[in-house]
């Protein structure tokens, strides 16, 4: 009883008045609240769900009206066709390779530079750091033409190296690393220096192991960005087997929509989305909480 009284006394006057309001209205309010949120949530996941379920349906069922929710028969042949009619496997592999090269380069350059910007002193430090960050405001469309000319003169059209080039370094990555590494105590580094460790050894043995969370976040967003890359491959790749998955899919769209193989198209799209979906589900919290750091654009 005394606890209840204490609770009542601790509650602001207004809140008590609020509570006194008819319970029925609160219930109705909650009902409206949930209906509104659910409607938006359904809108958000509809394209994804429609695609995943549609990839198991017959073409006629995909177009049927009224639409079916679950497939009448679970058809896996769409997936078979997506990997045999078109080089989906090869495109998938291309995207994996591109992501791997990009990850390696971004994580290496960012963690090296991040350490220097966080813990070392040198004359051009501020200038270099601010100019790196300044490049974030350069739209890709502005550097696209010279990059194309450069890549074509270096005979790098239709190559992995050409495709990864613009993504080899990330200003966000450097920034993220620098911010995170600044939190590693200087005393730790000083102690290592007194023991005679070189800066490179400090980086490898103290900085990197202590920066795992930030490296993980950076790796996640680098993967998402690399997997989505489309504009640049569109410009420099025209050989079918070299296309990354998004670009291959677009080529495939024209062909398959013409032949009205909708189920196969949806299966191929699902294959392209599933890796990202898995990453999102596994690392949801980390992605949502640090998304503003990612530098991913629409």
């Amino acid at each position: 009883m005394s606890t209840t009284l204490a609770k009542v006394a601790a509650t602001p006057v207004v809140a008590r008045a609020h509570r006194a309001r008819s319970k029925v209205w609160r219930r109705i309010g909650m009902g409206v609240f949930y209906i509104a949120l659910t409607a938006v949530a359904i809108f958000c996941i509809t394209p994804m769900v429609w695609m995943l379920l549609g990839s198991f349906k017959y073409d006629s069922e995909i177009l049927a009206y009224p639409p079916t929710f679950l497939p009448k028969y679970w058809l896996y042949q769409n997936y078979v066709r997506a990997t045999t009619l078109i080089p989906m496997g090869r495109w998938f592999l291309n995207s994996v390779i591109l992501a791997a090269i990009t990850e390696l380069s971004v994580l290496t350059t960012a963690s090296l530079a991040g350490y220097a910007f966080a813990h070392l002193e040198f004359r051009l430090k501020r200038v270099l750091f601010l100019s790196i960050l300044g490049t974030m405001m350069i739209p890709f469309f502005t550097i696209m033409i010279p990059l194309f000319l450069m890549v074509s003169r270096l005979k790098l059209l239709n190559t992995y190296l050409g495709m990864v080039l613009p993504g080899l370094v990330s200003a966000y990555g450097i920034f993220l690393m620098r911010q995170f590494m600044s939190t590693i105590p200087t005393e730790l580094l000083e102690a290592a220096r007194i023991d005679g460790s070189s800066e490179f050894r400090i980086w490898a043995e103290i900085i990197i192991p202590n920066s795992r969370p930030a490296l993980g976040t950076l790796a996640l967003f680098t993967f998402l960005g690399s997997w989505d890359s489309f504009t640049w491959p569109l410009v420099i790749v025209n050989q079918r087997p070299m296309k990354p998955i998004a670009l291959g899919l677009v080529e495939f769209t024209g062909q398959l929509a013409f032949e009205t193989k909708y189920g196969t198209l949806l299966a191929a799209s699902s294959i392209a989305v599933v890796p990202v979906l898995i990453v999102f589900i596994l690392a949801q919290e980390q992605i949502i909480e640090s998304f503003h750091l990612s530098g991913l654009k629409g």
Binding site: P12, V13, F33, L37, V40, A41, C44, T46, P47, M48, W50, M51, P66, L112, A113, F117, L120, E121, F122, K125, F129, L133, M136, I138, F140, F141, T142, I143, M144, I145, L147, L149, M150, P166, L168, V169, A171, Y172, F175, Q179, R193, E199, W203, L224, F230, T231, V235, A246, L247, L265, S270, V273, V279, F280, I287, I288, F291, H292, K297, G298
Partner: protein
């Protein structure tokens, strides 16, 4: 993309060093890979782009004569498609910015407390933000189909009419705006949710004691306190809107007619289909200037979610 926060935090100095024991070249060794890549990917290309934009530059031609500002003059005075594409870019970006920030704000206000299932709702709102845009654009093209698409099926059943989403010049850009909002509103919501944490709790309670109703509390207390967040959402959405390309390439190819030929798409076509790279480069600098101005506004006035 959060340029503001990044640059603001960058201004803070790290702790001053007490005793330096490494040779002077060591820091440069650490930054050199990044700097080298930056020089190759950004610095050199941007200078080259500037060079191209003042030349009559067509790929495959042996001579590319210097023409001064002719490419820029041509864009603004003779190229009707360019001017129209500029208008469309603003139309699309403006529409997207408004719907995106409005929906994001409403969602954030609804989500700004604990309730059963909050976690799942947040996940649902955020799924479109991360999922690959190209496959989803292919799916949206299906959904938007005038005769067979799901959206028109539902509209026809419930209200007895169809909307010619992507096949009508008037509807094409609004359709793209709806899709872009679908994709980004979860992000706008997260930014607003972060902004709502900074609204002083005492101010809201004081307003409640004074008998302000929910709308008055929002309009007189919460909304003014959210101003920097709102500006942040507006500017970042504008930048996203102006750089939209993949969806347009997949869903409309700039059409019907030229109804969705926005600046980014026109730059691509001019440079890589018509191969007029001089003009393409000039256009890309126009785009650069817009993005630059938006970033400056953001740096000066907006406040995004803190990174620490």
């Amino acid at each position: 993309m959060d340029v503001t926060t990044v640059l603001r935090l960058a201004k803070r100095r790290t702790r001053p060093r007490r005793n330096i024991k490494y040779p002077a070249w060591v820091p440069y060794f650490f930054v050199s890979p990044a700097i080298l890549f930056y020089a190759v990917i950004y610095i050199f290309p941007i200078a080259w782009a500037l060079y191209i934009s003042v030349h009559k530059f067509q790929i495959g031609r042996p001579d590319n004569p210097f023409v001064g500002l002719e490419n820029y003059r041509y864009l603004f005075f003779d190229d009707k498609i360019f001017r129209a594409s500029l208008v469309r870019t603003f139309y699309f970006s403006f529409g997207f910015v408004l719907t995106n920030s409005l929906v994001g704000l409403i969602l954030a206000l609804l989500m700004n407390r604990w309730f059963v299932g909050r976690y799942l709702y947040r996940m649902a709102f955020f799924i479109p933000v991360v999922t690959s845009i190209i496959p989803m654009a292919i799916v949206w093209k299906f959904l938007y189909n005038t005769d067979l698409g799901l959206f028109n099926g539902i509209l026809n059943r419930l209200f007895g009419f169809r909307i010619p989403w992507l096949s009508d010049e008037k509807w094409a850009i609004p359709s793209l705006i709806i899709m872009a909002t679908w994709r980004r509103m979860g992000y706008a919501m997260m930014v607003y949710l972060a902004g709502l944490q900074d609204v002083p709790r005492e101010h809201i309670e004081a307003a409640m004691v004074d008998g302000a109703n929910a709308w008055q509390r929002f309009w007189h207390v919460i909304w003014p306190a959210l101003a920097p967040t709102t500006l942040f959402v507006l500017v970042t959405s504008s930048i996203t809107g102006m750089l939209t390309f993949g969806e347009i390439y997949v869903m409309t190819e700039g059409g019907p007619g030229q109804a969705t030929t926005v600046l980014s798409y026109y730059i691509y076509r001019t440079s890589f289909e018509f191969l007029k790279m001089g003009r393409g480069a000039a256009m890309s600098f126009v785009l650069f200037i817009f993005i630059f101005i938006l970033t400056l506004i953001q740096l000066r006035y907006a406040r995004g979610p803190q990174t620490e």
